[in-house]
């Protein structure tokens, strides 16, 4: 099982180590740092590294490396999932996951890690169980604690850990009972030069924020559940009922959680909300090129496309650029050759355009590679797959909760080739 965990910042400095079995010298990280040196980008460091005596499994998240050391045959996905859980735990407790935050709460992070694994076996990874044992810091509490000497560690028994519904603690009480669901869909797509869809799919997720008293038993149904190709549920969802009736029946965890994720990959169902007309060309002789990009709405189901942003990795041999945008503004970093054009809201009457000249370094040959355009956007009040929540019912409790559903569509990995 998991032997040790090291947290490493982008410059390769180890700023936290935790061992659940015998202590593994931090020199084992040298193998990792070596691989990191070799990789062009921090994202490119291979997640599984083999050293003479250990395996190093790492993730790169929030600009930090979470590196675990294992010695025996352990499912790598198990380790990777756990590492993501650690990152989420830090995010959850301290509001962000960063080196500063971890350093500020070093002892608490250490205590939390100790609760999360025992001998490398996961012990308590559910947020609500952890919070019962170690209370998250608030400014007020830490001041009070320092003055009065009370502690952050709960001495009550973590009831959730043993019940058959470990995700919910008993005795939850709210004055306002509310349940909100956000249906968030991301479009992953590759469009080719002519605008034809090479590949497109929708990754959907239903995020829930449930603040209900007692032990509510909820049933959420969709108008069109057959749309979904593959679904993954939070452990609270009763799978049998989904199989037979296509409804989500569950006793929710308290607070924020991801109820389900789903996948729509039937191409014809994936509407592409924008089109991009672009040309990036370089003259055969001389050291000049031109860039011309226009973005316009396509299948938007009558909604406004907002937050549109175009990102281009220009070729390395570019010396400088001189562009004009009819809408929004652009930034260009000559070090990373990253061009970002922030358009904002898309106006169908007046299509935004960015054009101008690119100059190459003197004597540099015509670039071989074609830069790709990555598009960002969001559309409020629309799930692009057409998924709609039908109704939410609550059993088991008497009060009337306040219910709400919100839809939003975003661009995921949305790429236009040139």
């Amino acid at each position: 099982m998991i032997n040790s965990l090291f947290l490493i910042n982008p410059s390769g400095e180890i700023f936290l180590e935790k061992h659940w079995k015998s202590v593994v010298s931090r020199s084992v990280c040298d193998y990792f740092l070596e691989a990191k040196e070799k990789a062009l980008e921090p994202e490119d460091v291979p997640p599984v590294i083999h050293t003479p005596h250990h395996y190093l499994i790492s993730i790169y998240r929030d600009k930090l490396f979470f590196l675990s050391v294992i010695q025996t045959e352990v499912p790598p996905l198990f380790v990777i999932e756990f590492l993501h859980r650690v990152a989420e735990m830090i995010q959850d407790y301290f509001g962000e996951c960063s080196e500063t935050v971890v350093k500020d709460h070093m002892v608490m992070v250490y205590e939390l890690l100790e609760e999360m694994l025992d001998n490398g076996f996961p012990l308590a990874t559910e947020s609500n169980v952890l919070k019962e044992m170690i209370r998250p810091p608030t400014i007020l509490r830490s001041v009070v604690n320092t003055l009065t000497g009370t502690s952050n560690v709960g001495d009550t028994f973590p009831t959730g850990q043993l019940s058959t519904i470990p995700w919910r603690r008993a005795g939850v009480r709210y004055t306002n009972n509310e349940a909100y669901f956000d249906v968030v869909e991301e479009i992953d797509a590759i469009l080719d030069q002519s605008g034809t869809t090479v590949f497109a799919e929708i990754q959907g997720v239903v995020e829930a924020c449930v603040k209900l008293s007692g032990m509510p038993d909820l049933t959420l149904s969709f108008m069109n559940p057959r749309l979904l190709d593959d679904v993954s549920f939070h452990p609270c969802v009763r799978y049998k009922l989904w199989e037979s009736e296509r409804v989500l029946s569950f006793i929710p965890p308290d607070g924020n959680f991801t109820l389900m994720t789903y996948h729509v990959n039937a191409q014809n169902l994936v509407a592409i909300p924008v089109y991009v007309k672009q040309s990036i060309s370089f003259f055969e002789c001389g050291s000049d090129g031109r860039l011309d990009v226009t973005v316009g709405p396509k299948q938007t189901m009558g909604k406004t496309v907002e937050g549109v942003m175009v990102t281009v990795h220009l070729p390395k041999t570019i010396l400088s650029i001189n562009l004009t945008a009819t809408q929004g503004s652009y930034t260009y970093d000559n070090g990373t050759k990253l061009l970002v054009w922030d358009i904002g809201k898309l106006n169908p009457q007046k299509l935004p355009n960015l054009r101008g000249s690119l100059s190459l370094q003197a004597g540099a040959p015509k670039p071989e590679e074609n830069p790709s355009l990555n598009i960002d956007l969001n559309i409020q009040q629309l799930a692009i797959s057409g998924l709609k929540v039908n109704r939410l019912d609550m059993f088991g409790e008497k009060y009337k909760p306040f219910k709400g559903v919100k839809y939003i569509t975003k661009a995921g990995k949305f790429q236009v080739r040139t």
Partner: protein, 966 residues
């Protein structure tokens, strides 16, 4: 003072109170100050001090000097303080074992505490203190906690058994904790069950032969019930454990599958993949015509696709596993090509894996899409990725015949880009296309020739030279082209030199009049001016061939070449089966069996897929090739697998004795660069040295001549036979593999240390090398060669060291060996002289291989034949040996020997003495017959060996000894 410090701090961080305050005291007397605070009367001050100590510990500062002071704080009602002290204890107890004893009393007391949380905490912490003296005290509390009324305590105690086992395995066994742990599998609480399973699995890993997880239908039922109710992590443990079970029949298999299927919708990807493993394995037992089988296949695709939208690290592991699944059951994902399309911002490791799977899924139906994508990738930025994309186009051409033309024209387009590395890759793959579709695309040769000057990589140069030589008659200025290469002959790499030699000889045979001078020039360069033995040998052979019999030379050199097969890097079926059983593990990421790399699991049992209950020998064999490619895999006889860089077109065909009508042994197809020149051809000349191997062949009719062909024929059925031979005496044990020894110390090889051993795995002889770079500089360009040896061992492929070996790096390589190399009798017989080259120098060493790795799988002789042969071999050839101090009974001995392909044919018991009759067949067809006398209670065995080549007896005896004693 303390307050002043903190106030300062607070100002610095605004009003935030953070742990960073614990790092502020950097004065010299830090430890001293902490000591004072730890001994303070004020509770709060104490706690703050312990926190400071822990904070220092987490960043790796040594605060072990405070041990007694921290332990003093342990006796407290404050749970947080207690936990903090425990944290400290776990870290430092090992370095201060005597002091740690002080804590024992508190632990023991806490294990009796009315609060289950405290009990669990105490037993959990005690297990983490890795000090022998403490573990002794742990036994009694642990025993109580394992039977505690509170499941939270039981579940913690279960893990504690695994901890204790890690520290002192013997103690755990003696105290009977393993049995208690086994009982916990039937616990009423699912969390306890899951932890018990996890603990047992971990213990079982270091005890491969123990029967810890004894699964039967009842316990399986318990596990399946617990599966629905335990945490996500528990589900992983339970699923992995289930995967080790072999259901009794297809109905049980189906019912387990039905209960596992819901796990495919779990949000935790590790749960999903473990469920996929169970299903992939148990599916094997379901009849294919069953409706449920089809349903299950359909259910597997969506979760696998969903894994690809997770974080990149998860994607990577998923892709490595999908690569296996696609090879085993291509039908699952055959319609999902598009999800493997590479995205611009995928990390490089994801891109490369996706590319691999795209080629595996390529078929006539989707080839147009795939090609369009590949062409797109060939213009990306990342050089490695671009190269692989170009190669992929070539592989598509070879795999999908209908697309070949389009692939070739795509490659030509890419050559027109004139991007150096693209051109070189394209030429290498076009050479492969020529070998697959001879006389079809030669019109492109002119275009290729235009790029001759830009080629600077050996592989591309060699490929180009091969093309010029092969099609010399169609290239007007072939002689000029080849001559231009000849100028820098000595600066070329061996690969290019060999190819150039062959190409010029081909040219000469095709256009003898104009090229006589050229051929003489190259022959003298190769034979007189070169110190490379391969080159020299090949040069001499050509020379002699040309001077003695030009017609024969023509037949040999210009022989029609075998076609290369479409799937190049398929995983060998036995290995694939084993890897399918290990889906989701590290083995599946590395595509190596766990025994090959996981430390401490030597002798792990090899897992196999269960057989279908209805006589399904035929269907068990994976039908990867014909599902996608559409060409019958039975066409094997004329097809040899192509290594990516196979240039060994040379003499592969004429190696096999002309009388052999059976398929060419596929091992010879793996030959590299024609190093096997002296192989079979000279076998008959030199074989005599070893003693009558040709005569042996005659003695047994045609058997030896035909049998080698099936040596490693990758047929599922054949494999089954192999395991059946034991006649149902339980699991066959693996072949004996001697421990690795250092063959070449770093002192003698400018910092390169080589150690290794030999193994026979699934019919393939492997040389397993560990290369360690103990020098200061990076080592690259590794290559290996063997001197001629008694049994014609030769590398069956290049030494695969793909990445440069940095200082202090170690790499494990396994090199498949063939037995069709040049033969020369060595002394001792099993001596092997090896040359290893790297960018620094060439190094020589010699090592001895256990002759047992030459024992082939079909070495079981018919009883009658055995009898006749035994009589037939003169008594002079019989040798007797004593094996001393061996405590196996005859059955165990026989099982053990069978693992190394020593087959017991008959057993006779005479006066309490077991006589075992055994046969062995060596890879060169020599048979060895043996009689082993085992007397109950007597540790000394007597063995008589009879063989027509008595020289081998000594070596065979050594093997017996090694196998039986290990």
């Amino acid at each position: 003072m303390e307050w002043a410090n903190q106030l300062c701090e607070n100002r610095q961080f605004g009003s935030k109170m953070t742990d960073s305050k614990y790092f502020t005291t950097t004065k010299k007397g830090e430890i001293f100050e902490l000591k004072a605070e730890l001994n303070s009367d004020k509770k709060e001050k104490k706690k703050e001090a312990v926190k400071k100590v822990i904070a220092s510990m987490t960043v790796g500062k040594d605060v072990s000097a405070l041990f007694p002071d921290v332990v003093n704080c342990m006796q407290t009602d404050n749970l947080e303080l207690k936990k903090l002290v425990y944290l400290y204890l776990m870290n430092y107890a090992k370095s201060q074992p005597d002091m740690a004893i002080m804590a024992v009393n508190t632990f023991v007391k806490d294990c009796e505490d009315p609060n289950p949380l405290i009990r669990a905490l105490a037993v959990r912490t005690m297990g983490c203190i890795r000090v022998d003296k403490i573990t002794e005290y742990l036994c009694e509390p642990l025993r109580k906690c394992l039977k505690d009324e509170d499941p939270y305590v039981r579940k913690t105690a279960a893990v504690c058994v695994a901890k204790l086992h890690d520290i002192n395995a013997q103690l755990v066994e003696d105290q009977g904790f393993l049995d208690t742990l086994k009982d916990l599998i039937s616990d009423s609480n699912p969390m306890v069950v899951a932890n018990a399973v996890a603990a047992l699995s971990e213990i079982a890993e270091s005890h491969p032969n123990s029967n810890l997880l004894d699964l039967n239908p009842q316990s399986i039922n318990k596990l399946l019930t617990a599966l629905n109710e335990c945490t996500e992590w528990g589900q992983i443990f339970i699923l992995d454990c289930l995967a080790n079970y072999t259901p009794r029949d297809d109905r049980e298999s189906q019912s387990i599958c039905e209960r596992v299927t819901p796990r495919l919708s779990h949000a935790n990807s590790a749960v999903v993949l473990s469920a996929v493993k169970v299903l992939m394995k148990f599916m094997e037992m379901l009849p294919k015509d069953l409706d449920y089988y089809g349903t299950l296949l359909k259910k597997l695709a969506p979760p696998l696709v969903t894994l690809l939208s997770a974080e990149p690290e998860l994607q990577y592991v998923a892709l490595r596993n999908i690569n296996l699944i696609v090879q085993k059951r291509p039908e699952i994902l055959k319609h999902e090509m598009k999800v493997f399309f590479v995205k611009y911002n995928d990390p490089i490791y994801v891109k490369l894996e996706k590319l691999d799977i795209m080629i595996r899924l390529a078929s006539q139906a989707n080839i147009a899409q795939v090609l369009a994508e590949l062409k797109e990738y060939a213009t990306e930025v990342d050089v490695d990725f671009v190269r692989k994309a170009v190669r992929a186009i070539g592989r598509c051409a070879i795999k999908v015949e209908q697309s070949a033309e389009r692939c070739v024209s795509t490659l030509l387009d890419l050559i027109q880009t004139k991007v150096n590395y693209v051109v070189q890759e394209a030429i290498v793959v076009i050479k492969d296309i020529f070998r697959k579709y001879p006389n079809k695309y030669e019109s492109v040769i002119a275009t290729l020739c235009e790029n001759l000057d830009s080629l600077d990589e050996p592989e591309a140069r060699a490929a180009m030279i091969w093309i010029v030589g092969e099609y010399a008659e169609r290239i007007d200025n072939a002689d000029e082209l080849l001559e231009s290469f000849l100028e820098g002959f000595h600066d070329e790499s061996t690969q290019v030199q060999l190819q150039l030699l062959t190409a010029i000889v081909k040219l000469f045979l095709k256009k003898p009049t104009e090229t006589q001078e050229l051929v003489q020039q190259v022959l003298s360069l190769a034979t007189q001016d070169s110190d490379n033995p391969d080159l020299r040998d090949r040069g001499y052979i050509y020379w002699r061939l040309l001077s003695t019999d030009p017609v024969a030379a023509k037949e040999v050199v210009l022989a029609e070449k075998p076609l290369i097969s479409e799937e190049t890097d398929l995983i060998e079926p036995t290995l694939l089966e084993e890897l399918i059983c290990h889906i989701g593990t590290l083995a599946s990421v590395y595509h190596k069996p766990p025994s090959a790399f996981v430390e401490g699991s030597r002798g792990v049992m090899h897992k196999r897929l269960p057989a279908r209950t209805e006589s399904g020998e035929g269907t068990e064999c994976p039908d990867v090739g014909n599902a996608a490619g559409g060409s019958a895999p039975e066409a094997a006889p004329s097809i040899i697998p192509s290594q990516g860089d196979l240039l060994g077109d040379l003499l592969n065909l004429d190696l096999a004795p002309p009388t052999t009508t059976g398929p060419t042994p596929s091992t010879s197809g793996m030959q590299m660069g024609g190093m096997d020149l002296l192989g079979g051809g000279l076998d008959s000349l030199l074989g005599g040295d070893i003693g009558g191997s040709p005569a042996m062949g005659a003695g047994f009719g045609a058997a030896p001549a035909v049998m080698p062909a099936s040596l490693n024929a990758p047929v599922g059925g054949g494999l089954g036979d192999l395991f059946d031979l034991g006649g149902g005496v339980g699991m066959p044990m693996g072949a004996y593999i001697p421990p690795k020894t250092v063959w070449l110390p770093a002192m003698k090889a400018k910092g390169l240390e080589i150690s290794g051993t030999f193994a026979r795995r699934a019919g393939v002889i492997q040389m397993e090398l560990v290369l360690t770079n103990k020098a200061m500089s990076v080592m690259t360009d590794f290559a290996i060669q063997f001197n001629r040896n008694s049994f014609g061992l030769a590398p069956a492929g290049p030494l695969q060291v793909l990445t440069p070996l940095g200082p202090n790096q170690t790499i494990e390589v396994s090199l498949p060996l063939s037995t069709v190399g040049p033969v020369m009798k060595m002394d001792p017989l099993n001596n092997l002289q090896v040359a290893v080259k790297n960018n620094i120098d060439v190094f020589y060493f010699s090592c001895q291989y256990p002759i047992s790795m030459l024992f082939v799988e079909d070495g079981k002789m018919e009883r009658q034949v055995f009898l006749a042969t035994w009589k037939d071999i003169p008594n002079d050839n019989e040798s007797q040996f004593q094996i001393q101090d061996c405590h196996l009974n005859s059955e165990a001995a026989s099982n053990k020997l069978q693992g190394s392909n020593i087959f017991t044919i008959a057993k006779r018991t005479v006066e309490g003495q077991d006589m075992l009759y055994m046969s062995i067949k060596l890879s060169n067809g020599i048979w060895v017959l043996a009689e082993l006398k085992v007397q109950a209670g007597n540790p000394n065995y007597t063995i008589s060996l009879k063989c027509r080549a008595p020289e081998v007896s000594q070596c065979v005896f050594q093997c017996y000894e090694a196998v039986l004693k290990n």
